[in-house]
Symmetry: C2
Subunit: 380 residues, 2 copies
């Protein structure tokens, strides 16, 4: 378990406290996603996605190597995932790596492998059944499809459904991972169940399964939240031993919960801290108005005089991280808020409109996705 | 790891020393297979197989409960298995539980599930690949089919091939097994790989998979070598938690290696200690004559005078355990050998003829089995 001196903690199972991302880069041994690398991406894509321009993806492993391979004609594929869980609906924070993947698929014209490890939450949480998880998997697939992935270039892998092709490969990974490695990476102990101990091997499989199927070594790029990095720290060590490239990784920061800029938006922390993809416009309005932590002053008078603090204002941060891609417009909102010209209520109104516009479109596509699932799920 | 005070040791991965089966019954907490239970079997089958009459199956768990269920019209199914491994050919010792299963299938008219855990040896031995194991699995299936199982009532499960139906069920088992449980049952430590730690969950699955498929709770009977008991000690605890019966178990003693009556015949100990199902008549003759440990005296003169000791004579033990089902004939061989009338060479000649007759028939059926594999392997 990676613990950073009491200030904050990051593991695949917990994100707590105010996250210091510079410290995290050092702690995790990842590289900063710097302007040189971003320029290399821009050379291929013509433009940079807002998540790249604004540092939402802030770190990486081996991205320059991946771009070297791409330049040399060796296309990569994308891999990310989502662990379905009863009662854990998809929220805006989940969408960040997925939107990044969709954009990268489009710009680089590459395959996308999306894993739904439907056993993971079951193995880690006492009160979840595998039967519960089936419905959750279905709901999650709708959100992924709604983001616009191309069906002919996208494969959904569902662990229990595709174990017939995954388990054999997972055994090859598992043979190279000892209990003590898992123990130190995930903070496990002897009371962990043997399924949870094995699970990291299943999570590694999609990073080389396309290479197995196509019988050639294909580079892999995994966009993910930085908290999921430990899973791949182990598998990056293992994959060269099996004859495959280490997957490259791009790490994103956490979308903060509504209630304050520490930690990450989490489906498990209660519905007031997160905006879900299935929230109604009224729910969004109510949540933002009621819960979104404000950087403004206590009274309008004081706010007009002293101004607000956009750096700790969750509404502003959401606009910056996700909903206002126009740099000039964002700058104006920033300046107006800081000067006191823009009130907290007005800032929230801007965000509410943006989120609801996004969700209205997303929910429409999510409905259409119901007829498209078969096109995405890998044929067994 | 079950260690019996330095005299002998029994785990699923090692059998060493002279085995004291009475001690083992106590140590393992199993029940002696007594005349009362044998009579109950005989009531259903009309006769008792030589393995039952002569104590080759010597212990059990819950066999009386299983027979109660059978009497009440609740038929059981049989489950046993074989872990395929490159360089580990099937020998006579392997056949004992399988022959028992075939006999029980015939007499009780029940289904047989035969597991080929093709990942097990791969996970436990550094130098084995999964690709090597494919050929070994094929060879092993031929030996099983050759024993006369009924295709319409027999299903072969191959772990990597059938993981699509097994992994999900294995996760349910795995959630109930902690590392410390596996550690104490199998003598594992933190250097064990995570695949080997998970594996026992896969081994439990066939004991309830028919119940999953048929959506009703069906009793299970597992004939196996006593060294495999620890795998099922854990899963017997788990299965009621999943809503299934604990499987009943019948335990057989080990067929001793040619070289002496301690330990068990093992494919991994070198070809001189075991008779393989694919051995030629010449190989059998040579091995028995050269290696079969003799209870006879050093010279013919001495043998005629003092007589031999059938209790430690491997050839006599093979006749008793496997190849001479006629009690009168066996008694005569015993008495003649003990009195010195029958010489070691003559005793060996009797055994050689018996084994070669058995193998000649087995090998013929093994050839025919090549066209029957599809009838046995479970449809995915």
């Amino acid at each position: 378990m990676v613990k950073e001196k009491k200030d904050f903690s990051i593991t695949p199972y917990e994100v707590g406290g105010q996250v210091d991302y510079s410290k995290l880069i050092k702690e995790f041994g990842v590289s900063k996603l710097d302007s040189r690398t971003l320029e290399r991406i821009k050379k291929q894509t013509g433009e940079l996605h807002v998540f790249l321009r604004r540092g939402i993806f802030f770190a990486h492993r081996d991205l320059n190597w991946l771009l070297d391979e791409y330049d040399a004609g060796n296309k990569f594929f994308l891999y990310t995932g989502r662990a379905p869980s009863k009662g854990s609906r998809v929220h805006l924070g989940h969408l960040i790596p997925w939107i990044m993947c969709q954009w990268l698929q489009e710009k680089f014209d590459v395959d996308m492998w999306f894993q739904f490890p439907d056993e993971e939450k079951f193995l880690y949480k006492p009160d979840i059944t595998l039967e519960d998880t089936e419905q959750a998997t279905y709901e999650d697939m709708l959100d992924v499809i709604a983001l616009g992935f191309r069906p002919e270039k996208t494969k959904f892998l569902i662990d229990t459904k595709h174990a017939g092709i995954m388990y054999k490969e997972a055994c090859k990974v598992a043979k190279k991972i000892t209990f003590s490695m898992v123990k130190s990476s995930f903070g496990f102990n002897e009371s962990n169940n043997v399924g949870s101990i094995f699970y990291t091997a299943m999570q590694a499989v999609p990073a080389f399964l396309p290479s197995v199927i196509k019988k050639k070594n294909i580079p892999c790029l995994i966009p993910l939240g930085i908290d999921q990095d430990p899973h791949f720290r182990i598998s990056r060590d293992v994959m060269p031993k099996l004859g495959y490239y280490k997957p490259a990784i791009m790490h994103n920061v956490f979308l903060p919960p509504l209630t304050g800029i520490g930690g990450k938006m989490a489906a498990s922390s209660g519905s007031e801290t997160a905006i879900y993809t299935t929230d109604t416009p009224e729910e969004v309005k109510k949540k933002i108005n009621k819960y979104a932590f404000s950087g403004g002053q206590a009274t309008i008078e004081e706010h007009r005089k002293k101004g607000g603090n956009p750096d700790i204002d969750v509404s502003f941060q959401y606009l910056k991280m996700f909903f206002e891609p126009d740099d000039n417009k964002l700058q104006k909102i920033h300046d107006d808020y800081k000067s006191g010209k823009l009130l907290t209520g007005e800032l929230k109104a801007i965000l509410i409109e943006k989120i609801n516009k996004f969700l209205s479109e997303h929910q429409k596509k999510r409905e259409q996705a119901k007829k498209m699932i078969d096109k995405f799920v890998l044929k067994n």
